[in-house]
Symmetry: C2
Subunit: 107 residues, 2 copies
């Protein structure tokens, strides 16, 4: 996952409505109509949130008839989670080393 993708993914995740949409998709695919009904904003606003999530690779959209089904796409989120976990591990390891250095009894 390159830097531009991380921009898109984290930016997409930085909005509570979009995280709410992703939470809605945890139980399975939903139509745009169903998603719109679950929030207090207009359908065009939902459509744009979905475009942002789609562009970030966090959801896929499939048009079937006049309905568009939206489903979570776990892989991209997994990459972002890996990126974050990598740094968390790095920092934690560093602090543990610092703890060893600062508080070691074996000096």
């Amino acid at each position: 996952m390159n830097s531009e993708n991380l921009d898109l993914v984290f930016s997409a995740l930085s909005d509570a409505t979009r995280r709410g949409i992703l939470a809605n998709l945890a139980k399975g695919e939903r139509t745009v109509h169903e998603i719109t009904a679950a929030f207090d904003i207009s359908q065009p606003a939902i459509s744009r949130h979905l475009r942002v999530l789609d562009h970030a690779g966090l959801v896929r959209r499939e048009k079937r008839g006049r309905e568009t089904y939206v489903m979570a796409s776990a892989e991209t989120a997994a990459h972002a989670a890996d990126w974050l976990a990598h740094y968390v591990n790095f920092w934690t390891a560093h602090f543990e080393r610092m703890d060893q250095i600062l508080f070691s009894n074996e000096e």
Copy 2:
């Protein structure tokens, strides 16, 4: 970690410069001056990026004399990583269930 915190954390992570700063801090604390030298933008721009990271809880700043030392704060990032991992697991588990349903031989 509440929704507002997640807004701040993911928003902070959505900028390549800020992720670069965090990468710089993986090896230990840095002064604002050192961080500024590592990027091609002005010192005030760096200061504001640091404020965003600080506000999100991703770094801490300590003033010592006339220098401000910046260090990564792993805990907040860990919470965000957990949040993400939770959904990744949820989606993946769902898809695995779907796979079982769709491709099971035990019907």
